[in-house]
Symmetry: none
Subunit: 254 residues, 2 copies
């Protein structure tokens, strides 16, 4: 749809903000590693990779957004020959979402056998969730009972599995940690729930906007803004919390 300058620029500037945030977070996570015990450094390295990959994709998303609209007569008019590429987000998530769960498991510092199986199961479920959500995202039929609703529903199954593992299996592991670390870990788990939980909500916006996407500028903008806020919190914000956990554990274990 065509956008007002305010709508177009809101998204444009949020993308730029996110590029800056991701690359700055990358530098921070790389440099902060040396404050940690060697055992926990790999977790920060994974964090660094996540925000680097995200920075790259926001750079592409920004370019695609910029090319998809042109200012004509005071309105940002959608360019049919250069459509906005939704897939960058999903490609990004396909790489980063499994890494985010790996990061959480690594910072737990479990014995090798246990952590390998946890990472494999959670990483696989995370990738499956993203792959199953994609056909709904790009489908022309955005209704609740249509393709968007159907794929969204199927993609929720691995999502629920991930939450189930985090909130049942992992609970005893978290309780085994010291008071301060246990607190931080259960915060990280909550941050994961709080940020990840907004993705399906954002995904649902178009379902309630008849005529999406061609006739609903508001829903197009809300979806981009929603996903972007989630990404900043779920990647950079989450990485800072993982750093705090790794720091606390490094200090405790001397």
């Amino acid at each position: 749809p065509d956008l007002t300058p305010g709508q177009f620029n809101l998204v444009y500037n949020m993308f730029s903000f996110t590029i800056a945030t991701m690359f700055a977070a990358f530098v921070y996570f790389v440099l902060a590693q040396k404050n940690l015990a060697p055992k926990y450094r790999v977790s920060m390295m994974v964090s660094a990779l996540v925000v680097l990959i995200a920075g790259y994709h926001y750079f592409r998303i920004f370019g695609s957004w910029d090319a998809a609209y042109a200012l004509e007569g005071g309105q940002y008019v959608f360019q049919d020959d250069q459509p906005f590429n939704d897939a960058y987000r999903y490609v990004d998530w396909l790489l980063t979402v499994p890494l985010l769960v790996v990061e959480l498991v690594l910072v737990l510092g479990l014995p090798k056998g246990e952590s390998g199986s946890l990472m494999a199961r959670l990483g696989f479920a995370a990738a499956l969730m993203i792959i199953l959500g994609y056909p709904g995202e790009v489908s022309g039929d955005a209704s609740l009972m249509g393709e968007r609703g159907l794929w969204g529903f199927i993609s929720t199954i691995p999502f629920v599995y991930i939450l189930y593992v985090l909130f049942t299996e992992l609970s005893s592991t978290i309780q085994r940690q010291s008071g301060r670390v246990a607190k931080l870990l259960s915060n990280a788990r909550l941050l994961l729930l709080a940020t990840w939980g907004f993705y399906p909500i954002a995904y649902m916006i178009p379902m309630f906007s008849a005529g999406y996407p061609t006739e609903t500028p508001g829903a197009v903008v809300a979806l981009q803004v929603g996903y972007t806020i989630c990404d900043v919190l779920a990647k950079a914000g989450y990485g800072v919390l993982i750093y705090a956990i790794a720091k606390a554990k490094s200090e405790e274990e001397g």
Copy 2:
């Protein structure tokens, strides 16, 4: 040929995915070096160079693909004045394939005299394989009995030589390693076989698609997707396995 948006975008997004993966792998291999004994660091450095070179080439390939097609009336129309440049791949391989065999030999940790000769022979054969495959790739005559088939056949001779060396000469060397390392090394050799083996298969796709490339959009897409998956596994995936080997050897040798 002209492509549907689905075909064009599949290749487009896979190229973008690969750029992100290669550069993230580069950062990982550079930073992970310090976890290894100094003796094995050079092998990871070679891995890092391989994915850096590949990231650069995928950046170019992505740009070339994007410029070679334009969206007109719902179809991606091939632009005669900006053809897709196949040569980027071969230039990339010419640099990276010899480095990949060097990497494998380095992680074996052989005495100096032995490893030098192995690297020289395998690296030379690898370069020869790529050079001989190129005329067939760009030939207009893609048939099995035509130029593509002929050059493909000639290029298979150094390929078979490489496999012969890896699976005969190297076997005794691998058996001399400890149980865990021997297992990892023979996995690396199998991953090499599994990923390298798909390149000639992808190369053959056009041979069975009459009218390639102008009349066969499916074969054009399948070739790009096939080569891209191989490259991710043969460079980044393989590098991770080499890292695991180097880590295991570092720990064993204290």
